[in-house]
């Protein structure tokens, strides 16, 4: 009972501290909202800005006849790039010269320039053997801003798709001519007509052809038919929540050192209340503070960011596990510090480091290989893994191992902090 009274006093003290509240509640919500917005409106979809692109068609420029120019391979590429269907992705302007196109990129007016070489049509129409080798191939150059990667990647993909289609028509023509020659057709005019017919047929079929296609989706949990796709803001919020729960735990934990320096802790020790009960009360306070913090953040995420947290049972277990882990780590980082300032600086450094290698800052972005292993050396990394499982529609099976691992870390942290405090206050 006395332990609970001490815990309640510290709990109220923490939740009356504006600076602590800003750190515990405002900061994670701000970051989750901002980073969620960074990756799509409302955090539900990934979208990028239309890529400013300049295109110069030296292939069509080689002919003065406008009708003939429209039949050139270069014109097909320009038509695709300027297609209204791609307006959301590409913002294309046509340049008259190669220099003009390059200058647009050099002067930061465009992220990429597409330079279509002169003679591209002739190269594609050449009815030679396909063993020429790619060293003789005409180069369609994508001249790009070196600081941009995604935008020029999209331009390259679009141009590559058109180029592949032109190559397909050429391959159809060559295959038809060579196969017909193999069947005994040797008349040049017949072979020429066959080549044109095959290329044309390819172009017509390519429009309608669906063939093999990719259907992107999120990973599904075992035994699940439907794949859950969490919104980005909720994923970011989980990372930020765990990170700032560590700071949340260190605030009431530091009260032990504050009270030590002010002498009020020793005054408490003179009362009949055993020291273990006093320290137990402090432990409970730290746990309750971060538990309340995580519940508030989860509710705020649900109400303000539209987060869907998944099955209630595993959700409660993960929340409790997170609060225990944060409390134990908060107490440990304070247990060996001598002053509140030292505790603040040391714990900040440890929390930032753990968040860095545990994946709190980067979430699911770009993690893989060795980093998936490295994050498992941190309690927050395990906890994030459990949350990922839940957000992707998993349940008990997906959180069992992460929760077990996280609780193992928690037990060690509690044991160590208790040992440090016992030595200090024995």
């Amino acid at each position: 009972m006395r332990a609970l009274i001490i815990a309640w006093k510290d709990f109220r003290h923490t939740y009356r501290n504006i600076a602590a509240l800003a750190m515990m509640l405002v900061a994670p919500m701000l970051l989750a909202t901002a980073l969620g917005a960074a990756f799509g409106s409302g955090g539900d979809s990934f979208s990028v800005v239309a890529v400013k692109t300049v295109v110069v068609d030296l292939d069509a420029a080689a002919t003065a006849d406008p009708e003939a120019a429209s039949d050139r391979a270069g014109s097909h590429i320009v038509a695709t790039l300027t297609d209204p269907g791609l307006a959301d992705v590409l913002e294309v302007t046509v340049a008259a010269t190669e220099e003009e196109a390059r200058a647009a990129v050099d002067e930061d007016r465009a992220a990429a320039a597409v330079i279509i070489p002169a003679g591209l049509t002739e190269a594609l129409r050449q009815a030679g053997t396909p063993t020429t080798g790619s060293s003789d191939a005409k180069e369609i150059e994508i001249y790009k801003d070196p600081t941009a990667t995604v935008g020029p990647g999209i331009v390259t993909a679009v141009v590559g798709a058109v180029s592949q289609r032109l190559e397909g028509a050429r391959a159809a023509a060559l295959a038809a001519v060579q196969a017909a020659a193999g069947e005994g057709v040797i008349d040049g005019a017949t072979l020429g007509g066959l080549a044109a017919e095959a290329a044309e047929a390819y172009g017509a079929s390519a429009d309608a052809q669906t063939g093999v296609a990719l259907a992107a989706r999120a990973p599904s949990a075992a035994g699940q038919d439907e794949v859950a796709a969490p919104n980005v803001a909720s994923q970011v919020l989980v990372g930020m929540m765990i990170f700032f729960m560590l700071f949340g735990a260190s605030t009431p934990a530091r009260s032990i050192i504050d009270e030590h320096r002010q002498g009020t802790l020793f005054r408490l020790f003179t009362t009949p209340t055993p020291r273990s009960v006093i320290l137990g009360g402090k432990y409970i306070a730290v746990f309750l503070v971060v538990l309340a913090q995580s519940v508030i953040l989860l509710l705020a995420g649900w109400l303000l960011l539209g987060a869907r947290w998944g099955d209630p049972g595993p959700l409660v277990v993960l929340t409790l596990c997170g609060a225990l882990m944060a409390a134990s780590l908060g107490l440990l980082t304070v247990s060996f510090a001598k002053t509140p300032a030292q505790a603040g600086a040391v714990s900040s450094a440890i929390f930032v480091f753990l968040a860095l290698i545990g994946g709190n800052f980067v979430g699911s972005t770009n993690i893989g290989g060795a980093f998936a292993l490295v994050r498992r050396f941190t309690p927050n990394g395990w906890l994030l893994e459990g949350w990922d499982g839940l957000l992707y529609g998993g349940s008990w099976a997906e959180i069992a191992l992460p929760v077990g691992a996280c609780l193992a870390f928690t037990a060690v942290f509690f044991a160590l902090s208790t040992w440090f405090f016992s030595r200090r206050y024995a």
Binding site: L31, K144, A176, A215, A218, P340, I367
Partner: protein, 394 residues
């Protein structure tokens, strides 16, 4: 002026003796740079993107597709069962996964459309790159199949005999050979003096520089709050130091400290990770100086507004994280939406990141960085003005 220097020298001496300061100024920034550098460079710089592939069909066409994927230099194909693919993607052990469904071979042979599930975490940029590489192989496959069918039909019509399996095999081989020796190739060339593209360490090193310069002011800002609480600032004024001298000394101390911290990160980036900071030393100096003054005026403002060390730590952590994350220090702004990019460029840190990228990749000189830095200095004036207005020694 002598008093300003004494106060600054005291800050430097105090920081040199503080082992915790070294943690924020040296150890964590270096670890952060290496970690993020490997993460961003990730699979791209170190080789191929790991792709988990589950072939649940087992037909010759499926085996051929797997072989084509294995031939893609950007992919590191890891065959496994479908449940393992889902788990590997979710645990981020691979960049993405591909499932070849039952009936794939039959559908391809019949010319029927077929969809292959591409399993990925939506926000993963590694998955985006893997998707492009898989898409390239699929497009190549579609072109080959269609070209063979069209050619066989044309030849059949020309010779008056319907295309049989032998003719289809023949045209497929011929189409594949034609596609293997393309008449046109798409090449990507980066502009700028070095023709180098933004690499993992270019992003991580510049991002770390901004992130940790902001964090670096934590020690001095908390120290200032502590000195005020202990009455030391008041004692300084009693000893004859004016508020302007105290502010000047503290600012100078913070500027020197954060500049030295940046210098360390610049040297680390230049010599350990090949980030070409020294492409324009004069422009680099201007950017570093601006960043130092920005961080220092922000630190001064935080310690002027907040009274306790705890509040200063909290405010510094929050503001430093926001300014770094929103400015593109953690990830390139290019991958964010239009609105976010506009908001980010209201912040001074985004312009610092832009200037650093300009120097290392585009050959920017002093004249080029003056524009972005002008915006940074507007913020410095605001921060510094507010800090001076709010500063109270007592």
């Amino acid at each position: 002026m002598r008093r300003v220097w004494y106060i600054a020298a005291k800050e430097l001496l105090q920081t040199r003796r503080d082992r915790l300061a070294a943690l924020f100024s040296v150890v964590l920034p270096v670890v952060f740079t290496v970690f993020l550098g490997l993460l961003f460079g990730g699979f791209g710089e170190t080789g191929a993107f790991p792709l988990a592939v589950a072939d649940t069909d087992g037909s010759p066409a499926a085996i051929e597709l797997v072989a084509q994927l294995q031939a893609e230099s950007l992919l590191d194909v890891r065959p496994m069962g479908q449940p393992e693919v889902e788990a590997a993607v979710q645990d981020q052990e691979v960049a993405a996964g591909l499932v070849i469904p039952e009936g794939y071979g039959a559908a391809v042979a019949a010319g029927q459309p077929v969809e292959l599930p591409f399993v990925r975490v939506e926000t993963s940029s590694g998955a985006q790159s893997a998707l492009q590489a898989v898409q390239a192989a699929i497009t190549r496959l579609n072109s080959e199949v269609l070209a063979a069918q069209v050619a066989a039909t044309a030849v059949g019509a020309s010779t008056g005999t319907p295309p049989d399996e032998e003719l289809l095999d023949s045209t497929r081989r011929l189409a594949a050979a034609a596609l293997d020796a393309p008449a046109a190739e798409v090449t990507v060339v980066a502009s700028g003096v070095t023709e180098k593209e933004l690499g993992g360490f270019d992003q991580a090193s510049t991002g770390s520089l901004v992130n940790w310069t902001l964090f670096g002011l934590l020690t001095v800002a908390t120290g200032l709050a502590w000195e005020r609480r202990q009455g030391l600032l008041r004692r300084m004024t009693a000893a004859g130091a004016g508020a302007a001298q105290i502010i000047g000394g503290k600012m100078l101390g913070m500027v020197i400290l954060t500049f030295l911290q940046q210098l360390l990160l610049v040297l680390l980036g230049q010599f350990a990770f090949g980030v070409d900071y020294f492409a324009s030393p004069a422009a680099l100096f201007l950017v570093m100086l601006s960043m130092s003054v920005l961080a220092s005026s922000l630190g001064l403002l935080i310690s002027s507004v907040f009274r306790s060390e705890q509040a200063v730590i909290g405010a510094t952590v929050i503001i430093a994280q926001l300014l770094a994350a929103l400015a593109g220090a953690w990830f390139p702004l290019e991958i964010t939406g239009a609105g976010f990019q506009r908001v980010a460029h209201i912040l001074p840190t985004a312009w610092v990141v832009d200037s650093l990228h300009g120097i290392i990749l585009k050959g920017w000189g002093v004249l080029d960085v003056l524009g972005p830095l002008g915006f940074v200095w507007l913020w410095i004036i605001v921060f510094f003005g507010l800090a001076v207005w709010r500063f109270r020694p007592a």
